[in-house]
């Protein structure tokens, strides 16, 4: 049987992969940092444009068997691909100050990772999904360990690698078991019904557990702080935004699209994951003294809020089609708000300490006085992550989650989310207070590279805009 391949549907993935190749060649021929990064940036931008262009056209699909397709290009996949491309662009801009990594490999690996993310949004079966997710993650093992001459970096990379490989194996096992019980791998056909066997339950839980690693949900979170802290700060930003987005998208695709018949199994598991993740993340974050570790733990906690709307699936009320849509769009909306805020937070850290690691929180004393704009951005991002005005984007993100939970009848989970927001504020406000503390001594003001400043500015403007007009995000979701 010959198959025609719809190359238009694959265009964003081609563009992303092409970017990776082009970056590698630029590094060979020109061998200048700026040129390599510029090519990567242009490639990411082209990928985003391509994804949006394809998304504006008709829905397409390719690699089909009679009743389902493995690669789907629709509005949703375009949104995901564009988000990944733009996040990569942002991270490349933030990398302008990262001097202790070989630029060619760095940009090449980032572009490879972007390719995985772009393909992820189009995945139509479990295997494509897992392969795309792995393509997204695999380059990150190297990127985390890429910093020259640092032990933390290598340690973080090894932890990340080992844990993540186990996670992928677990997900694959789950997918294989699902194939064993049902004979299907396509999400669309899985959704039509699963046999009521004990093995089905085991398979669902295994798939879910493996994917939970990717979003760093408790109890599968242990890799995150070490990996974030060891990595160059822009890569930590990528881990906490793009990589986490990948995990969330994979969970949504696998659980809501594919395993819809097993939601009564996945629902309670997700609710437990969400509660554990936000509570443990917040409590441990309270005691952190290093900036990037604090952000890492806070992003663990944020994963809990992201998963929370899906926890409503545990109740029959939460599994009606209508409630399902509400929960999914709440998750997507929260993720978008979160990704913006997190990128701004990491961007501000890069801007305050260009080319350095995150350092101790105490090192930031008075930073908002020496760098008023960058400091204000960091505070805005942190306050947004805490969910309070003036971080209106974060406030509306929390509102979306609580609303969707009450819609699904899971009031207790809404209360848990609400109380966690209080714990969260305790550490966010501590950092904000340090930023506005007295300036220790007049040190030389670090010069902020223009690319970092521009990226930070764009993200901040985006945060302010969606803060006042959150409907934009809600419409997208």
């Amino acid at each position: 049987m010959t198959q025609s391949v719809d190359h238009v549907a694959l265009l964003p993935a081609y563009l992303a992969a092409g970017t990776a190749v082009l970056v590698l060649m630029t590094d060979l021929i020109v061998a200048r940092r700026a040129a390599v990064l510029a090519v990567a940036a242009v490639g990411a931008l082209a990928t985003a444009a391509g994804a949006i262009g394809v998304g504006l056209g008709d829905d397409r699909q390719t690699f089909c068997v009679p009743d389902a397709c493995s690669f789907v290009a629709n509005d949703r996949s375009a949104l995901v691909a564009a988000l990944f491309a733009l996040l990569t662009l942002g991270v490349i801009a933030l990398s302008a100050a990262t001097k202790d990594v070989p630029p060619g490999e760095y940009a090449f690996l980032l572009a490879c990772s972007m390719t995985g993310g772009v393909a992820l949004g189009s995945a139509g079966d479990l295997i494509t999904l897992i392969v795309a997710l792995e393509t997204l993650t695999l380059p990150l093992y190297v990127l985390v360990g890429l910093r020259r001459r640092t032990v933390e970096s290598a340690e973080g990379a090894v932890t990340f690698f080992v844990v993540s490989v186990v996670a992928t194996a677990v997900t694959l096992l789950g997918a294989a078991l699902l194939y064993a019980v049902s004979g299907r791998v396509h999400l669309a056909t899985l959704a039509t019904g699963l046999p009521d066997l004990p093995l089905t339950g085991a398979a669902v839980v295994l798939v879910l557990a493996g994917l939970a690693f990717k979003v760093a949900a408790v109890p599968f979170h242990a890799w995150a702080p070490a990996a974030y802290d060891g990595a160059p700060v822009p890569i930590a930003a990528y881990l906490s935004t793009a990589s986490k987005l990948g995990g969330v998208i994979a969970i949504l695709y696998a659980v809501v699209d594919g395993l819809r018949p097993a939601l009564d199994l996945a629902g309670p598991a997700l609710a437990v994951l969400a509660v554990l993740t936000m509570t443990v993340g917040n409590l441990v974050a309270l005691r952190q003294t290093r900036m990037v570790r604090l952000l890492a733990w806070s992003s663990v906690a944020q994963a809990g809020y992201i998963l929370a709307p899906l926890g409503a699936f545990m109740l029959a009320d939460g599994r009606t089609d209508e409630a399902l849509t509400v929960a999914v769009s709440a998750t997507v909306a929260y993720t978008v708000f979160y990704v913006l805020l997190e990128l701004a937070a990491f961007g501000a850290v890069v801007a305050l300490r260009p080319g350095d690691d995150g350092g101790l929180i105490a090192d930031y004393r008075g930073a908002a006085r020496t760098h008023p704009w960058v400091g204000a951005t960091l505070v805005l991002a942190l306050v947004g992550l805490a969910g309070l005005p003036p971080g209106l984007a974060g406030l509306f993100a929390k509102v979306v989650v609580v609303r969707s939970l009450l819609d699904g009848g899971a009031g207790w989970l809404a209360v848990v989310v609400a109380l966690n927001a209080v714990i969260g504020l305790a550490y966010y406000v501590r950092v904000a207070a340090v930023l506005y503390g007295p300036v220790p001594a007049e040190g030389a003001r670090a010069r902020i590279p223009w690319a970092v400043a521009a990226a930070l500015g764009v993200v901040t403007i985006a945060i302010v805009v969606v803060g006042f007009a959150p409907q934009i995000v809600l419409d997208l979701a």
């Binding site: 005005p389 504020l425 305790a426």
Partner: protein, 491 residues
């Protein structure tokens, strides 16, 4: 007149931006001008008639209703009526006085323009809360206040400011996240966030109403604060700079009691009836505990802070009765407490600044050293303890009367105990006066006289305490009809 509603929020917001970005002195002046403009704009919101279109229990004099975030049922819906109007004007007035006061003397470590900007942001939040006629909008404005107030305490506060500020922000955030859950409990089951449509609670089942009322009542009880959720208040009030304490006690606490009347009781009346006895008992406990704790205080600001617990107890007792008299008492009690306690905190700040201590044991002889200061302090204390003819009287007396009117052994007992609490209030204020104004001079007061700025800041409050005391109809008149309609809808 609709633009006036928006302007009342937009002007202080713009003023805050100007104050933040202009240099110190110019910023302070710009901020103060904005605060003055807000007051000028807020006064003509008044409308001398019971606006009688329709049969809704909330009939605003003016209304703005714009779509904002349809996906969250959030509309930019503002309105003002007889319940909110006095509080709006009070907020505008106190903010102006505080900004002007800062112009004269910014507390350490200076940077007065930032302080003015934060005060104006707080004003936006408080005014927005009073004006919001959409539950979600109400919540958003309720949250706006938190961090600016945190910053005011944490930067310009006393020695233990970091701890007090953190306690304030975490405690009150605890309240407002419950408000979030409560608001959406209502919104999700009613399908609308419009306070006008929701008042009366006809669209909600009894179970939902009780659930919602519990959440909302705890949220507002933290803000008010109601004993035993008050523990953030003494620290925050004591550590905050003078202007911070004035705003906190004067109007910020009113967001809680106003929310209880407009949102909790209005939207979930079934729940309110169910919880009224518990609320009444807690309110009376607050009165008694607050007064007893005050009797044992040795620091002037802390004493005044704890007196708020007792006074807010009277306000909550009035609300708990769910009668027209009781809610009227709560409203006038709110306004009176705002005026008098605002004044008391100004005075406490002035005394502490002159004597460099707030310990009652190290104060004394104020009457001889600074007769004017002593006189105004005596006036404020006597107004606060509820002498007839001054503002504090009406709220406390009518809360007790309303409780008696409810009848039955429980409410009669509550009324009696509350009356005893009122007597205790007199006891601790007289103790305060005896320690501070009378007796031999312990330390030196420098300077003994009053600055012109101080007189300017205090005079309006002194006058208001007199006027509201002599003519309570000023507040009660305009609140009568809306409260009647609310009680009718709640019944």
């Amino acid at each position: 007149m609709r633009w006036l509603l928006v302007a009342v929020l937009a002007v202080p917001a713009a003023g805050a931006l100007l104050a933040a970005f202009l240099p110190t002195k110019a910023g302070q002046v710009a901020g103060t001008v904005a605060a003055a403009a807000t007051l000028v704009l807020s006064v003509p919101l008044y409308r001398d008639s019971w606006f009688s279109f329709g049969s809704a229990a909330v009939r605003p004099w003016h209304e703005v209703d714009l779509s904002w975030v349809p996906g969250l049922d959030l509309r930019f819906h503002l309105g003002v009526d007889g319940v909110s109007y006095p509080l709006v004007v009070l907020t505008a007035l106190l903010t102006l006085l505080c900004c002007a006061f800062t112009l004269w003397r910014a507390p350490a470590p200076g940077r007065g323009h930032t302080l003015v900007a934060l005060l104006l942001v707080i004003e936006v939040g408080i005014l927005g809360t009073f004006l919001a006629l959409d539950l979600v909008l109400f919540f958003v404005f309720f949250e706006v206040v938190l961090l600016p107030m945190y910053a005011v305490i944490a930067v310009w506060g006393g020695d233990d400011r970091a701890h007090a500020a953190r306690k304030f922000v975490l405690y009150t955030l605890f309240g407002s996240v419950l408000l979030l859950v409560g608001v959406f409990t209502v919104v999700v089951s009613a399908g609308t966030a419009d306070i006008v449509a929701l008042t009366g609670g006809s669209e909600l089942s009894r179970g939902t109403q009780i659930m919602a009322f519990i959440l909302l009542a705890i949220a507002f009880a933290v803000k008010s604060p109601l004993w035993p959720l008050h523990t953030w208040l003494p620290d925050a009030h004591t550590q905050a700079p003078t202007v911070g304490s004035v705003i906190l006690a004067g109007v910020l606490l009113k967001m809680g009691t106003y929310g209880l009347i407009r949102v909790a009781v209005g939207v979930a009346p079934e729940g309110a009836r169910w919880a009224a006895p518990a609320l009444g008992i807690l309110a009376v406990a607050a009165i008694v505990v607050g007064s007893l704790v005050c009797l044992a205080q040795t620091e002037i600001k802390r004493l005044i802070a704890y007196s708020s617990v007792g006074h807010m107890g009277f306000v909550l007792l009035g609300i708990a009765t769910l009668t027209a008299t009781g809610i009227q008492a709560a409203l006038i009690g709110n306004v009176a407490h705002g005026v008098i306690t605002g004044l008391l905190f100004f005075l406490a700040g002035a005394i502490k600044e002159r004597a460099h201590t707030g310990e009652l044991a190290q104060l004394g002889g104020l009457r001889e050293q600074s007769p004017w200061l002593a006189g105004i302090l005596a006036f404020a204390a006597i107004a606060s303890l509820g002498l007839p003819g001054l503002a504090g009287f009406w709220g406390e007396a009518f809360a007790v009367v309303a409780s008696l009117d409810r009848g039955g052994p429980l409410w009669t007992t509550l009324a009696a105990v509350a009356a005893v609490g009122g007597a205790l209030t007199a006891a601790y204020f007289l103790r305060l006066l005896r320690r501070v104004t009378h007796g031999p001079a312990v330390g030196a007061l420098e300077p003994p006289g009053l600055a012109r700025a101080e007189v300017a800041a205090w005079a309006p409050l002194v006058l208001l305490a007199l006027i509201v005391g002599l003519l309570p109809a000023l507040v009660l008149g305009m609140a009568g009809d809306p409260v009647g309609a609310l009680v009718e809808a709640v019944r």
